[in-house]
C-alpha cells in the first residue's frame, strides 16, 4: 500500500489532537475520565498489535509488562523524584528491558508454549511485589503526576489533566508505532508472521527479529502501564490482574490485530460495553449480579464471534471487502 508522506501524517495527528482538545472541553468529568481510560487501552492494545499482528507471537501476559512499566514509573518518582515525563521514559525502558528478556525466552517457543509461558508470567509477576518491601506489597505504591498547572484555571479538573497527558502520550506512541511498522522491521515481522521458514530462507534472523518485536512491544506496554498508574494513582499487584491482560488481548482482537487502524474501536469497546450493558441492565431493574456479570459474558461472546467471523478485525474486513468489490480506488 502506498504511504502517506510524513507531512500529511503529522497534519492528521495534529487535527486529531485538536479534536481531542475540543472534546475535552465539552464533555463532563466522567467522560473525560473514560477518555483517559480509552487512551490507556489504545496504547496497551497497540503494544499487542505490534507483537501479535506484526510478528505473529501471542502474549497473554501483556498486563504483567504494563505492571513493570507502572512500577518503574512509581519507583522512579518515589526514589529519585524525577519529573513526570522522565518517569514515563523510565517506564518504557524498564518494560522494554523486561520484554527483551521475555523475548529471548519466547524466541525458543511458539504457539501454545508461548501462550502458556506468558500466561504464567501474568499470574506470577505481579505477586513478586509481595517479595520485596520496596515494591510496597499488596498495597503497592503511590504514583502522583500532580495537579494540573494553575494557569489552566481553577475549573480544570484532575481527570481532564490525566486525559490530556494520556492523549498526548497516546498520539506520540501511535505515530511512532506507525513509523516502526512502516520501516524495514515492520516488513521483516510481517514476513515472519507469514512464514517463519520462508523468512529464515530469505536471510532474516528470525530470533533477533522476534526479540526486537518483544522489546518494542514491551516498551509500548510500559508506557501504557505508566498511564494506567497515573489514572488510578497507584500501582499494586491487583491493578495488573490476569483480567487486564485478557482485556487488552480482547481489545486487540476486536480492533483487528493486523492494523493499527482499528485500535480506537477496540479501546472504546472495552470501556463502553460494561457501561452500556450496565445501564441497560439497570434500566431493566435487574440485580447487581446480572449487572456485574453480563458485561463479561457480552465481551467474551463478542471476542469469540470476532475470532470466528472477522478474524482480522472489522477494519481489515471492511478494507478487504471494498478491495474485493472493486469500489476502492
Amino acid at each position: 500500500m502506498h504511504k502517506l508522506s510524513n507531512k500529511v501524517r503529522i497534519l492528521i495527528f495534529i487535527v486529531i489532537g485538536f479534536a481531542i482538545y475540543l472534546l475535552s472541553n465539552n464533555v463532563d468529568e466522567l467522560r473525560v475520565y473514560q477518555g483517559a481510560q480509552v487512551a490507556v487501552y489504545v496504547v496497551g492494545i497497540a503494544s499487542i498489535i505490534l507483537l501479535t499482528g506484526y510478528s505473529g507471537q501471542v502474549s497473554l501476559g501483556q498486563g504483567a509488562l504494563l505492571g513493570v512499566g507502572g512500577y518503574a514509573a512509581a519507583l522512579s518518582q518515589l526514589k529519585w523524584h524525577l519529573p513526570i515525563p522522565a518517569t514515563f521514559a523510565i517506564a518504557i525502558l524498564a518494560a522494554a528491558g523486561a520484554g527483551a528478556l521475555l523475548g529471548i525466552a519466547a524466541a525458543r517457543l511458539s504457539g501454545p508454549y508461548l501462550a502458556g509461558a506468558t500466561l504464567a508470567l501474568a499470574v506470577g509477576l505481579p505477586s513478586i511485589a509481595n517479595q520485596f518491601t520496596v515494591l510496597g506489597g499488596e498495597q503497592g505504591l503511590f504514583f502522583d503526576v500532580g495537579f494540573p498547572p494553575s494557569s489552566l484555571g481553577a475549573d480544570f479538573t484532575q481527570y481532564k489533566w490525566f486525559f490530556w497527558i494520556a492523549s498526548l502520550a497516546t498520539l506520540l506512541a501511535i505515530f511512532w508505532l506507525q513509523n516502526v511498522m512502516r520501516s524495514r522491521y515492520g516488513r521483516t515481522w510481517k514476513a515472519i508472521r507469514g512464514s517463519e521458514v520462508a523468512a529464515e530462507l530469505a536471510g532474516v534472523n528470525v530470533a533477533r527479529a522476534k526479540i526486537l518485536a518483544f522489546t518494542l512491544s514491551a516498551g509500548v506496554a510500559g508506557l501504557a502501564g505508566a498511564l494506567l498508574a497515573m489514572t488510578i494513582g497507584t500501582v499494586s499487584p491487583s491493578a495488573f490482574p490476569l483480567a487486564l491482560s485478557f482485556s487488552l488481548l480482547t481489545g486487540a482482537v476486536l480492533a483487528g490485530v493486523t492494523t493499527l487502524g482499528g485500535v480506537i474501536i477496540g479501546a472504546v469497546t472495552l470501556v463502553a460495553i460494561p457501561e452500556i450493558v450496565g445501564s441497560i441492565v439497570n434500566r431493566a431493574g435487574a440485580s447487581e449480579a446480572i449487572a456485574s456479570n453480563l458485561p463479561h459474558i457480552v465481551v467474551g461472546a463478542l471476542l469469540i464471534l470476532t475470532v470466528v467471523f472477522v478474524p482480522n478485525g472489522p477494519v481489515e474486513q471492511m478494507r478487504s471487502r471494498r478491495l474485493k468489490n472493486g469500489t476502492s480506488l
Binding site: 500500500m1 502506498h2 504511504k3 502517506l4 500529511v8 501524517r9 492528521i12 487535527v15 486529531i16 479534536a19 481531542i20 472534546l23 465539552n26 464533555v27 463532563d28 468529568e29 466522567l30 467522560r31 475520565y33 473514560q34 477518555g35 480509552v38 505477586s127 509481595n130 510496597g136 506489597g137 499488596e138 498495597q139 503497592g140 503511590f142 504514583f143 502522583d144 495537579f147 484532575q158 489514572t231 488510578i232 494513582g233 497507584t234 499494586s236 491487583s238 491493578a239 490482574p241 483480567a243 487486564l244 487502524g261 482499528g262 480506537i264 474501536i265 472504546v268 463502553a272 457501561e275 447487581e288 449480579a289 449487572a291 456485574s292 456479570n293 477494519v315 478494507r319 476502492s328 480506488l329
Partner: protein, 433 residues
C-alpha cells in the same frame, strides 16, 4: 490513488474516535449550584463499593442489605429531616481498579453526597489517590479497614476509618496473651501484605516472640496450602496460634488443623474471625469452640444489649431468614452512625457541613460499640480497642466470664490499658436526634 484510500482510512478513524467519545458523552443532569450534590428536597443519596461477588465477598456481601434495613427503618420514621436516605451499591470485586471505576461512577454519574462504609485497605488507598475525594471534598465515611495509614489527614483529608487499626489490634492481642497465656509457645499465621505487616509491627513493638511465623500470599489460602502451615506450626510445637488473616484463610487453617488432629489454643484476628463464613466453608462445628476472638461491638447473641435486640428485630423483618451475624451488626452500626452524622450536618446538609459535623461532634455520636468513637479535627480513626472472648459451641463469640473487658491503645508506642468507659443509653427507638 491508493494513498487516498489510506488517508481516508486515517481520517475516518479520527472521526470515529471523536464521534465515539461524543456518542458516549450523554450530558449528565445539569449541575445546580444551589443544592448540594446528592441532596434533594426528598432524598439524600449515599454510595458504597464493596465485594458483592468474588473471593472476598462471603460475609461482607451482607453489609449493604443490613445498612439498607436500618436506613429504611429511619425513612419509615420520618427520615433525616424529612429526607429519605438511599444507598447506591456497587460491586468492586475487591479489585482496586474496579473500586476506582465504581467510585467514579458513584461520584460522577450517580452523584452521591458521600461514600459510606466501603471496604478494604488497598481499594480505599487507590480510591483516595485516584478519585481523590479529598480534593473534591467528597466525604468517605466509616471505611471498614484497620490500615493505620488512613490516619494521615494530609493524604486523606476526607477519609474516616472506623475499625481500630491492625497495629492496635496486635498490641492488644499481645497484652491479652501476656495476661492469659504467659510462657506458652506461640505461632502466627499472617497475610503477607500491608494487612499482615501492620500486625507484625504491632506484635514486634509489644515484644511477642513467635516460635513459628507463616506468611501466606494473599489469595493462596486453601485447605491444601494450610496443610503446610499446620505442619510447620506442629513442628515448632506451638500451643497458641494466632490466625491473623481474612476469613477464608482462618477457615482453611482451622479446618485443616482439625483434619490433622492439631488443636492449639486459637486466637483469631477480628478480620478473619467471622463465624458465619467459617461455618459456611465446611469447617466442622466444634473446631471454632473455645477459640479466642476479638470485637468492639457487643456479641451478636447478646439480646440483653439494647442495640443488638433492636437491630436484630429490624433486620429480621427487612431480610427474613438471614442470620444476624457480625457483618450485619457492623453494617447496621455504620448506618446508625451515618444517620447521626447526617443529622448533625444541619437541615440542609452539604459535603462540607457533613465533614465539619463529624470533626466537631463525632466523638459524641452514639453507637452500638462498647468504645467511644474518636473522631475530632485531628483524628479520623474510629474505635480504638477490643474486648476478647471465646467462641461458643454454636460458633458465637461471647465475652470471657460473660463480662466485656475492653482494652484500648493507640497505633504508636502507647501502652495498652483497660477501658472504663460506659456506653450511654441508646437514643429512643434507636433513632438519633
Amino acid at each position: 490513488m491508493k494513498s487516498f484510500n489510506r488517508r481516508k482510512l486515517i481520517s475516518a478513524s479520527a472521526i470515529l474516535a471523536v464521534t465515539a467519545l461524543t456518542a458516549t458523552a450523554v450530558p449528565a443532569n445539569a449541575f445546580s449550584p444551589k443544592s448540594e450534590v446528592g441532596v434533594s428536597q426528598t432524598e439524600i443519596k449515599l454510595g458504597i463499593t464493596l465485594p458483592m461477588t468474588g473471593a472476598a465477598s462471603p460475609g461482607y456481601n451482607k453489609v449493604p442489605a443490613a445498612m439498607k434495613a436500618y436506613f429504611d427503618y429511619v425513612n419509615a420514621n420520618g427520615g433525616v429531616n424529612g429526607r429519605k436516605v438511599t444507598l447506591v451499591v456497587k460491586d468492586d470485586q475487591y479489585v482496586p481498579t474496579q473500586a476506582v471505576a465504581k467510585t467514579n461512577e458513584l461520584i460522577l454519574k450517580d452523584r452521591v453526597l458521600a461514600l459510606v462504609a466501603p471496604l478494604g485497605t488497598a481499594n480505599n488507598k487507590a480510591v483516595a489517590a485516584s478519585v481523590n475525594p479529598g480534593k473534591r471534598g467528597v466525604p468517605v465515611l466509616f471505611v471498614n479497614t484497620g490500615f493505620s495509614g488512613f490516619a494521615d489527614q494530609k493524604k486523606f483529608p476526607t477519609t474516616y476509618a472506623i475499625l481500630p487499626s491492625y497495629v492496635m489490634e496486635a498490641k492488644i492481642m499481645a497484652e491479652y496473651i501476656k495476661d492469659n497465656f504467659a510462657g506458652k509457645t506461640i505461632g502466627l499465621v499472617y497475610q503477607d501484605d500491608d494487612f499482615g505487616t501492620d500486625a507484625l509491627s504491632g506484635f514486634k513493638s509489644a515484644g511477642v516472640k513467635f516460635a513459628a511465623t507463616v506468611g501466606y500470599a494473599s489469595g493462596s489460602q486453601s485447605a491444601t496450602t494450610a496443610a503446610g502451615w499446620v505442619t510447620k506450626l506442629k513442628a515448632a510445637n506451638c500451643d497458641v496460634v494466632i490466625l491473623f488473616g481474612v476469613s477464608s484463610a482462618t477457615a482453611a487453617g482451622l479446618g485443616t488443623a482439625a483434619a490433622l488432629k492439631y488443636a492449639p489454643q486459637w486466637i483469631l484476628g477480628s478480620v478473619g474471625g467471622d463465624a458465619t463464613t467459617i461455618k459456611a466453608s465446611g469447617v466442622p462445628a466444634g473446631v471454632l469452640y473455645n477459640a479466642v476472638g476479638a470485637s468492639f461491638l457487643p456479641a451478636t447473641t447478646d439480646t440483653s444489649d439494647e442495640y443488638v435486640s433492636l437491630f436484630q428485630s429490624i433486620y429480621s423483618k427487612a431480610v427474613p431468614g438471614s442470620a444476624f451475624d457480625n457483618n450485619v451488626l457492623v453494617g447496621m452500626n455504620s448506618a446508625f452512625v451515618t444517620v447521626q452524622a447526617l443529622k448533625a450536618a444541619g437541615a440542609n446538609p452539604t459535603r462540607a457541613s457533613l465533614l465539619a459535623a463529624i470533626d466537631s461532634k463525632g466523638s459524641t455520636f452514639a453507637s452500638a460499640a462498647l468504645l467511644p468513637l474518636n473522631y475530632s479535627k485531628t483524628s479520623h480513626v474510629g474505635y480504638n480497642g477490643y474486648w476478647f472472648g471465646k467462641y461458643s459451641p454454636t460458633g458465637d463469640l461471647k465475652p470471657d466470664g460473660g463480662k466485656y473487658t475492653l482494652y484500648t491503645t493507640d497505633s504508636g508506642s502507647g501502652a495498652v490499658v483497660k477501658s472504663t468507659w460506659k456506653r450511654p443509653a441508646m437514643p429512643a427507638k434507636g433513632l438519633p436526634n
